[in-house]
Every structure is written in structure tokens, then in C-alpha cells.
Amino acid sequence: MADPREAILSRLLVVCAAVSGIQAAVRNRLDAAALRRPAVIVHDGSEQLLDAPQGERRSRLQRMELTPGITVVIRGDDGAEAGALMTLYRSRVVSAVLNDAELQGLVGTNGGIRYESGTVALPDAEAREYRITVELVFTYPFYLSDLGA
């Protein structure tokens, strides 16, 4: 099996790009080319140890939590309009990710995907660009043997 971290992040980008209404999805960039909106920016985020079985040789098998940053960038003519759009795309992105069979397969029956939080960044004065960052946590078994040389 390929490195699960990369497999999850790659698939996550594909799923976000396919969300209805999303005009662009990019990974580890500051913004989408040509400032297309609505856009999703996926940052790889962090990977941390969750737990490991007793007696197992350290690092050969453990469960990891991967927490990418998924930021939806939209434009709105006022804060109320922007708020409704951020809620709309938060719902679509979270639903698409949680229901994706390939991502479910990648985390396996000993892992899972959970929706942890959604945070709206404070807008700048007079700005018409708004961002909501959705935090989804992917828990998956990590086998040392999955890593390439």
C-alpha cells in the first residue's frame, strides 16, 4: 500500500475540486490561479500519533491523525451574503469528504474521518474576500512497511 498520508491528501484535493460550485482547488498554495472563486485551498497540515498497540515494536504499527487545513475562499458583497455562502460550501465540502468511499477505504475500519471544526477568519476592513477553514481529522493505521525507501 502507498503512503496513506499522501494517498489521503491527494484524494482530498480531488474530492474538494469536484464539489458543486467550486471553481478551483489547489494544494499548498496561497491562492488559486486567476483568483477563481469559490476556491478550496488544501494545506497538508499535521500528522500526529494517536495511539499504538501495547507490545508492538515502536513505530512498526500505530494509528495516526492527519489534520489538513481545508480553506474555502469566497467573495461576497456583504457579510451576510458571505456568511450564507461559507455555510453552503462548508456543508458541501464536509459532506463530500465524509461520504467519499475512496477516502473511507484509505482510513480503513480501524480509522475514520471526523469533522472537527469550522472557523471563519476575521475579514479585513471593506474586504469582499472571505475564508472559512474546515478541519477534518483523518485517523488511519500507519504501517512502517507502507513507507517507500
Binding site: R29, L30, A33, A34, L35, Y89, E126
Partner: protein, 110 residues
Amino acid sequence: MMIARLDAALAQTGQTVTLQRTSVDSASGAVTTGETLVCPAMVRASGPQDLEAGEVLSIRIIVSPTGLGSWGIPSRDDRIVIDGDESNLEQIVPIYWEGRLVRVNLLARG
């Protein structure tokens, strides 16, 4: 006199940019381009930048009231197209002299 001097400087050392107003579909968030204006401008990129669109961090632009004409002073988050790359206008600083608009300084990021 000040405006004429600025116009001459822009003609000599400036380049052409396109300013765009945008509108948003409140149901889908889709963005459409509204009124556009092609005008001469002085463009100076500053800060780290990437040749790929969407990664340039900071661009300073000067435009003249003559170039803006009836289009008027740009607004925050209007867009500017420079050499084919789009950026957002983040700062708009109109400068007046004796009560008359003589130039507009812009800061774009995108």
C-alpha cells in the same frame, strides 16, 4: 499641471493594466466580471513573488485620474489584471491636491 506630469510619466515609463469590478451570485458564489477599464499605470512588484498567478504577494500601482476617467476610484477587492495575471486591490489611496484628485496609489495582492 500635476496630472499632466503624471500622465506624461505613465506614458513614458508605465504599462497598460485592466481594472475590473466584479459581482457575486448570492446563491452560488460565482463571480462575474462587470465594468472593466484599460488604463496606463506604473507597476512595481515588491516582496517575494512567483511567476505563477496567484502567488505574487505585493504589487504597488499608480494610476492617474485621466486614465480612470468616469470609471472612478477603484474599490477594495476590485481586480486588476497585469500582464495577464489577476490580483485583488487591497489598498486604495486617492491623493488630492487643493481639493482635486491628482493620483491614486494602489496596493494589489493575489
